[in-house]
Each structure stands twice: as structure tokens, then as C-alpha cells.
């Protein structure tokens, strides 16, 4: 199917994991795609995997000024923008005793502040109709230990799926959220855990997933394609959980 033919799309954090997989599926559905990333290594790997037709913007998702730059570059290259997948995020998990102000701010800067000001910066070039999909998390709902700051940041982003819907639907912009449960992505490798610690964590998480497995990035990407496409033309302010039932148990 070519559900996104003639559409232009931006994916933040598009060089690995869910973002990279979504970029592949957007391309397969006929969209022109831009992605953002910060890590030169994964940027190069993404370029090799996605090909030269994909626009790659090096931008720090926590930096408000950088969001203006992203919008300017998109305008120069695409002119207008039909689809935004705000996916860049950080999962910093720590017991409450181990948090300091800088760490707290970093999580909120990347997961909440950057996304908010990116939407603001993109408004002048967003089409009517347009679709924005926010990547939130099952952690907005479940009381997982060590997820206090991460969960709060995702709950804040989820709230914006509703409030920005109310504010932007008059301009034809649909805002929705996807909330992944445990997905097998490089994110887990960034938690700084030993292999033993990772295995213990994986077992603990799996015990809470009715589907008894981790999801794949492609399974989240398919939901994003759905919400981005006209298939979801009457779906506004919704949260689609892709969590194998974890948020339900």
C-alpha cells in the first residue's frame, strides 16, 4: 500500500530503534522523509540503511533553538510538512535517591520541552490536514519503580496529545499518541545496566506483559503509519497502546 504517497514527514530520533523503523515504513508507504539525530555513528548507519533520499538533520532534541533550525531546514527542503512523529526521547531510570536537578531537567528537556517547542516551530509549515504523533509510553500509566521521572515526562507528553488536539484541530492538525510497552530497541542498552542486570530487568518486565514477549520496533511503526495516514482521519487526541496488554493488567 502507498498510504503516505505525496506526503512529507519528519521523525525526531529517527536514526535507531522505533524512529528508524518508522522511517523505513514511511518510505515504503511513499512519503518523503526527514529524520533528526545527534549521534554521528547512528546517523551514518541510518544514512547507509535508508539511502540518500532521506534528509538527515543533526539536532539536539533538548535544545529549543535547535527546534527552530529543524523547522527552517524542513521548510527549505520540503516547503510544507504533513506528518510529524515526535519520537526522540530518553529513558533515564533511577531510584529516587539517585536523582539530581540536572538529570531531572535533562529528561524533561528531551521528552517534554523540546517536543513542545518543535511543534510550535513547525506550525507555520504544517499542512491542512496534518498529523502529529507523539511517542509516549506505557510508563505514563504503570507504577514501575525507578521510572518516576521518565513516567512523569511521558505523562506530560501524553497530556499534550489531548490539549494540543483541542488547540490545533481547528487548523486541521490531528494530534495523537502511541504508547509503546516494552519494545526490543537500543534504548535498553542505554540504561547503563550490566548484561546480568538487563536480563533480570527483562524477566521482571516480561512477567507483567500478557502477551509474554517484547514488542518489535516495526509493531510500533505500523501504528504510527496508521495514525499518520488518512485511515485515522476521525481519530484525534487518542492514545494507542502498543504494549502487549501491559497497561491493562
Amino acid at each position: 500500500m502507498m498510504r503516505l504517497a505525496n506526503k512529507t514527514a519528519l521523525i525526531t530520533g529517527g536514526t535507531s530503534g522505533i524512529g528508524l523503523e518508522t522511517a523505513k515504513q514511511f518510505l515504503a508507504e511513499g512519503a518523503r522523509v526527514a529524520i533528526t539525530g545527534t549521534n554521528p555513528k547512528t546517523i551514518e548507519a541510518a544514512r547507509a540503511e535508508l539511502g540518500n533520499d532521506v534528509m538527515i538533520i543533526r539536532a539536539d532534541a533538548s535544545d529549543v533553538n535547535a527546534q527552530n533550525t529543524v523547522a527552517a531546514e524542513i521548510e527549505t527542503t520540503f516547503g510544507k510538512l504533513d506528518i510529524v512523529f515526535i519520537n526522540a526521547g530518553v529513558a533515564d531510570l533511577r531510584p529516587i535517591e539517585n536523582w539530581d536537578e540536572a538529570g531531572f531537567d535533562r529528561t524533561f528537556d528531551i521528552n517534554v520541552k523540546g517536543p513542545f517547542f518543535l511543534v510550535q516551530a513547525l506550525l507555520p509549515i504544517l499542512s491542512n490536514p496534518a498529523s502529529i504523533v507523539l511517542n509516549t509510553s506505557v510508563n505514563a500509566h504503570v507504577g514501575m519503580p525507578t521510572s518516576s521521572v521518565y513516567g512523569a515526562s511521558k505523562a506530560a507528553l501524553l497530556s499534550m496529545a489531548r490539549t494540543l488536539s483541542g488547540e490545533l484541530i481547528g487548523r486541521g492538525i490531528r494530534v495523537n499518541a502511541v504508547s509503546p510497552g516494552p519494545i526490543a530497541t537500543p534504548l535498553y542498552g542505554k540504561l547503563g545496566l550490566s548484561e546480568e542486570g538487563l536480563n533480570a530487568m527483562a524477566a521482571g518486565v516480561l512477567a507483567q506483559v500478557p502477551a509474554a514477549r517484547f514488542g518489535a520496533p516495526s509493531e510500533v511503526a505500523k501504528a504510527v503509519v496508521f495514525l499518520a495516514s488518512d485511515e485515522a482521519s476521525f481519530t484525534v487526541g487518542a492514545e494507542l497502546q502498543i504494549d502487549g496488554g501491559m497497561g491493562t493488567l
Binding site: 483541542g166 509493531e219 496488554g245 491493562t248
Partner: protein, 231 residues
């Protein structure tokens, strides 16, 4: 490989019919069951007339079929102004909730064979109150809760269960609200998208939830309401 098979209660009219047509267009085989069907229902949709609250009367529709890839419980009734009467309350719960529960249980072996998926029709009324329709609202809240419990119970069998929560959709059920122009205008003004949904716009979401595209989605309630429930 034979084409996937779906059973849709209330599949002869409205959202159920739109879902049947959508699945047909993608190569599914569809059996619709219920008491009503449009005169112009495409013959490719196999319509089996039976009361959905009578499981024994429904199951013959699946004679000769061992596998079921999709079950959609779309049959629903609304008894405006009468739903404060216990008998009417019970009748609404019977069709909207209990029938879906009984059928899902009866269809479980067929769904398990092929890792099938279930979609239950909840409603935005699952989260709002309605002075005139206490049974309808209670039934739709129950549908969403039932879908969550079935999702958790049957995930180990490889069966996914979700619900959708349509807002204002142009169907026969909502004709009464549309025919009152003052009320219709009030409703339009309350929908952020400023318009009602076509049944096909609900069907496309049900189709997504039934498809492998939603392979890790279970237990969710997905609104299709043009933003009605966000403001």
C-alpha cells in the same frame, strides 16, 4: 491458503456493514449476523439472520468453518428514555455486552487455532454520562472493561482483544439526533473536527486492530470521535 474469515455481529447495517465491506475489499470472507440487514447489502457478505443473544442460533453461521481470524461485536441497541426501566436496562445489557461475551467464549477455539483478533464496539459513552441512556452508557463501559479482561486472559492463547469508542457517526442509530436540527447543530459545535464520522472511518480503525499491523496491540480502547472526548 484460504482467505481469512471474520464474523461480525450487527454486520448487516451501519458500522458493522462498513466493516464487512472494508474487510471484503481486502480479501477477507465475512459472515454478518443479526436481526437487521440493509436491502442493498452486497451478496458477498454472507448474512445469517439470528438473534445475537442466542449463541446457539448464531453458531450455525459458521458451519464447516474451523478457523476464525476476526470477531467483531458490533450489534448494539439503544432504548432512549426507556432505559431507566429495569427490563429495558437488562435488554440493552444483553445485546451490547452479554451477547458479545457469550459469543467470544463460544468462538474461542476457532480464534485460538489461527491467533485471531477480537474488536468490541464500545463508545464515547463509555466515559460520559447520558440522562436518557443509562443502560447504553453502562453497557459501553462494560464492553471496554470486558475487552481489557479478555485481552489479559487470552493473550497467552495468542488472541488479541481491543475495543473502539466511536463518537457521533452517521448511522441509523444516530438518525434521531441528526433529524433534530437544533440538536445536530449543538453536537457539531461540540466536536472539535466539526463533523460526524462516516461509518467507513470507524471501519478503517477496526480493520487496523484486526490486522497484523496491530500485532502487539491488546486491551486498548481506541476513540474515533473527531476529538469529542478530549475536550
Amino acid at each position: 491458503m484460504t482467505a481469512p474469515l471474520a464474523l461480525i455481529t450487527g454486520g448487516g447495517t451501519g458500522i458493522g456493514r462498513a466493516t464487512a465491506e472494508r474487510l471484503l475489499s481486502e480479501g477477507w470472507r465475512v459472515i454478518a449476523v443479526g436481526l437487521d440487514c440493509d436491502d442493498d447489502l452486497p451478496p458477498a457478505i454472507r448474512f445469517h439472520r439470528a438473534d445475537v443473544t442466542d449463541t446457539a442460533a448464531i453458531l450455525p453461521a459458521l458451519a464447516g468453518e474451523t478457523d476464525l481470524h476476526g470477531f467483531v461485536h458490533c450489534a448494539g441497541i439503544l432504548r432512549h428514555e426507556r432505559e431507566w426501566q429495569t427490563a429495558d436496562f437488562d435488554a440493552v445489557m444483553q445485546v451490547n455486552v452479554s451477547a458479545g461475551f457469550a459469543l467470544a467464549n463460544a468462538l474461542l477455539p476457532r480464534l485460538e487455532t489461527v491467533g485471531g483478533a477480537i474488536v468490541m464496539l464500545a463508545s464515547m459513552w463509555a466515559i460520559f454520562g447520558s440522562a436518557g441512556a443509562p443502560a447504553y452508557t453502562a453497557s459501553k463501559g462494560a464492553v471496554a472493561a470486558l475487552a481489557r479482561s479478555m485481552a489479559v486472559a487470552w493473550a497467552p492463547k495468542g488472541i488479541r482483544v481491543n475495543s473502539v469508542a466511536p463518537g457521533w457517526v452517521e448511522t441509523r442509530m444516530s438518525a434521531r439526533a441528526r433529524s433534530d436540527s437544533e440538536r445536530a447543530q449543538r453536537i457539531n459545535g461540540r466536536i472539535p473536527m466539526g463533523r460526524w464520522a462516516q461509518p467507513s472511518e470507524v471501519a478503517s480503525v477496526i480493520r487496523f486492530l484486526l490486522s497484523p499491523d496491530a500485532a502487539y496491540v491488546t486491551g486498548t480502547m481506541l476513540p474515533i470521535d473527531g476529538g469529542y472526548s478530549v475536550c
